[in-house]
């Protein structure tokens, strides 16, 4: 029997409506009810969490680790290590790989590599269509048998409405969600940034918000007629939020997540043509940014995702219209959420943690995102008031494409625990006290 007590932390578990100053006891990889063992039970090891938040391990509902095929950007091992450093115990890996994860064997490969890495849990998201071509459904049932928990064509929108309708109908057999990159491809072709005043000044081809809004409306209509579950990845437009708000109120199975950079930045950040700010969907204007925050606050947006898109330096060091889209965001998500949501008072800690645990667990149908007694002990410990500087050169990720280098932030992940085992410990975190000598 191995045991770990996390002492005197502020334990927050939104799935359990818990926010209290107490200990958390873990025995043999499971959270247990301390009362059953008595307060004087001597655990093998202890972590003093005074002044810290203890919560379920964070879950990212979509990241890109790009293995197999693009190991120069990230591997499942390096990505999972980066995720741990960001406080994540589970991440869902998009199938934007080569070959695409569109067969049982390829899903099993992701599961196997995750097991080998023994960092955080990496669960595969299977492709909706074979080879992401948008023409034929992938072997969705086989993918589920191989470990796929949801379906997506990654950054390629499922543009054919009939294919999307069939995919929603088909996945409804397992009640699995389809995560769509909602965008009308023809409206953003060649686009580099949000279409608006800034794109006009910079001479960069724009990506209109309407490209997203039209697809969101279509997906809502298809979800309504198909009884499927659709999830909009990295929502970025004000009107999209409004559409989803209304659809949810009508009982349609639609959800959305948002990424921290869309909550923090506006399109003015591209004024120096820095490719680190080039993301898809693009960062939009203040009006859109405010609407995203409102959507989070009122519950329309149920998850926050880093949309981790690691890209090697040689890919990002190109001219802006030739560099690929994406930010490597796993290791900066939490402090950016503190800056944009906690510090201005838009969300409470409990609400924020809900968007990072219970929300994504519900979306992905995972038995995770909770620390109620009996659950697997995936736990994150956060120092909410610690101020530090982001240093991309200290990232665990293989890539450094993140525009927040040197930014002074508050809120730091101190420990990440998977299966009751401390797999990440912040460099300056107190050593765990061991009672086992």
């Amino acid at each position: 029997m191995s045991s770990l007590r996390i002492k005197n932390g502020r334990v927050i578990d939104p799935s359990n409506h818990l926010d209290a100053q107490q200990d958390l006891l873990i025995i043999d990889g499971l959270v247990v009810d301390e009362k059953e063992f008595g307060a004087d039970f001597a655990a093998d090891r202890e972590i003093d969490a005074t002044g810290m938040i203890v919560c379920p391990g964070l879950i990212d509902c979509h990241v890109s680790f790009r293995e197999p095929g693009f190991e120069e950007d990230e591997t499942i091992e390096t990505g999972a290590t980066a995720a741990l450093a960001g406080g994540f115990t589970t991440v869902a890996d998009l199938p934007d790989t080569f070959p695409v994860v569109d067969s049982r064997a390829s899903a099993e490969f992701v599961v196997r590599q995750s097991d080998r890495a023994a960092q955080c849990r990496v669960v595969p998201i299977g492709a909706v269509t074979k080879n992401h071509a948008g023409e034929e459904l992938a072997e969705i049932g086989q993918l589920i048998d191989g470990g796929a928990i949801a379906f997506s064509d990654g950054k390629r929108p499922i543009s054919n409405p009939e294919i999307m309708r069939r995919a929603l109908q088909y996945t409804s057999m397992w009640n699995r969600a389809i995560l769509n990159h909602a965008q009308v491809p023809e409206l953003v072709q060649g686009g580099q940034m949000h279409e608006g005043f800034q794109s006009t000044v910079l001479g960069l081809r724009g990506m209109p918000a309407a490209a997203e809004e039209i697809m969101v409306r279509r997906d809502i209509a298809l979800a309504e007629t198909s009884n499927g579950r659709v999830h909009i990845m990295s929502i970025s437009s004000k009107r999209s939020v409004e559409e989803i708000r209304q659809a949810i109120s009508r009982g349609i199975q639609v959800s959305a997540d948002v990424s921290p950079h869309h909550l923090l930045l506006t399109d003015e950040c591209l004024v120096d043509y820095d490719t680190n700010y080039k993301v898809d969907p693009p960062i939009r204007t203040e009006e859109h940014r405010q609407a995203l925050i409102e959507g989070l606050a009122d519950g329309t947006i149920s998850c926050i995702s880093s949309d981790h898109q690691p890209l090697s330096e040689e890919k990002k060091s190109l001219e802006i219209d030739q560099a690929p889209f994406g930010i490597a965001g796993l290791e900066t998500l939490l402090p950016l959420c503190v800056k944009t949501l906690i510090e201005p008072g838009h969300l409470t800690w409990s609400q924020l943690i809900c968007k990072l645990t219970h929300g994504p667990a519900t979306l992905l149908g995972l038995d995770a995102g909770t620390i109620r007694p009996g659950s697997v002990a995936d736990v994150t410990i956060i120092a909410p008031d610690e101020t530090w500087s982001i240093r991309t050169d200290q990232f665990q990720s293989k890539s450094r494409n993140n525009p927040f280098d040197d930014m002074v932030v508050t809120g730091r992940v101190k420990y990440t625990i998977v299966d009751g085992e401390v797999r990440f410990q912040c460099r300056d975190a107190e050593l765990i006290r061991s009672n086992k000598i």
């Binding site: 005043f197 794109s199 000044v201 001479g203 960069l204 120096d272 043509y273 001219e319 219209d321």
Partner: protein, 323 residues
């Protein structure tokens, strides 16, 4: 002809190492360049070679095809006694996979002081300016800016009108894909002109009104108030898809012709940054007529570029040893 001694052309308060666009220049800086260009025009009346850039190496880095701009820059540098080196993307190491930053760094390490950069990507000269020690002069970056073209247009207007204060300049055509339009808008407004942009809605970039310009979609409606009409070329090569139904329809709605000239001010100036599509943006009789400034623009471009090169050379640290 032998080089004459360096003439004392004052450089005023010029402090910039790079000239990346007119957006960031203030009115005084623009006027300084124009005044400087005017002095070079006077000095060049004798066509003698000047020695202002003696010992300076100017590299023309053209990652996008160009004939007139490249020739103009090359000649401007040579008239000032600079050593010049030309680089074109075709057949270069770019085709072997080298990034353009590495290409520029390689050329710079041969002892270059000033880089004249033309590139199809907006912001490419700005990106280079962050990596290079040499001064960078934007010779056109995608659909962003073309500052020396903007300056030579403005120089030509100022030469004919005296001042741009209160004058109305109408830019006609493909505003969306035009780097010249953006440079014109920034520069003209800073000098006090009113700017109208005119074209079909498909060729007008979104929210351009926020720049302070007036948008018009009917050319005939703005003819009477325009002191200058600058006819921008339809950028067929930068467009994708159909922005207007046919060339004939475009010429019908937005082409400058004799009939429209009759509706214009008596002393209207007709500019076109070129190369012009005769019969599309402008009919031959207007292009070759008395209102046309097209060839003056080309001539003035040389002096504007001499002025820009000279100003940047002054702020550029001279490198006596190749590192």
């Amino acid at each position: 002809m032998a080089a004459s001694p360096t003439s004392s052309v004052p450089i005023g308060n010029w402090k910039r190492r790079h000239l990346l666009g007119l957006e960031k220049l203030d009115r005084e800086e623009i006027e300084l360049i124009l005044d400087h260009a005017a002095e070079f025009k006077t000095l060049q009346a004798t066509r003698s070679k000047l020695s202002h850039l003696n010992g300076i190496v100017v590299a023309n880095l053209f990652f996008e095809p160009s004939t007139r701009t490249k020739t103009s820059f090359s000649l401007a540098a040579k008239r000032l006694s600079a050593d010049t080196v030309d680089f074109t993307a075709s057949g270069s190491s770019l085709s072997k996979g080298e990034t353009f930053i590495d290409t520029a760094l390689t050329i710079e390490s041969m002892g270059v002081d000033l880089m004249v950069v033309r590139h199809s990507s907006p912001g490419a000269p700005e990106l280079l300016s962050r990596h290079l020690k040499s001064g960078v002069l934007n010779a056109g970056d995608g659909t962003h800016e073309h500052p020396t073209q903007g300056l030579l247009d403005i120089f030509t207007m100022r030469e004919k009108l005296g001042s741009l204060e209160g004058k109305t300049v109408t830019l006609v055509g493909d505003i969306k894909h035009s780097r010249v339009a953006r440079s014109n808008i920034w520069g003209l407004q800073k000098l006090g002109a009113k700017v109208i942009v005119c074209g079909p809605p498909t060729l007008i970039p979104v929210e351009i009104e926020q720049l302070g310009v007036t948008v018009a979609h009917r050319f005939d409606d703005v003819l009477a108030e325009s002191d200058v009409i600058n006819l921008l070329r339809v950028q067929f090569e930068r467009q994708r898809g159909a922005f207007f139904p046919s060339i004939a329809e475009y010429a019908h709605l937005f082409g400058m012709n004799k009939k429209r000239l009759q509706k214009s001010k008596e002393d209207v100036l007709i500019l076109a940054p070129g190369p012009i599509n005769r019969g599309v943006e402008i009919t031959p009789d207007v292009a070759d007529g008395k209102h046309s400034q097209i060839l003056h623009q080309v001539t003035n471009g040389l002096f504007v570029r001499m002025a820009c090169l000279h100003l940047l050379a002054q702020t550029q640290e001279r490198k006596s040893v190749i590192q």
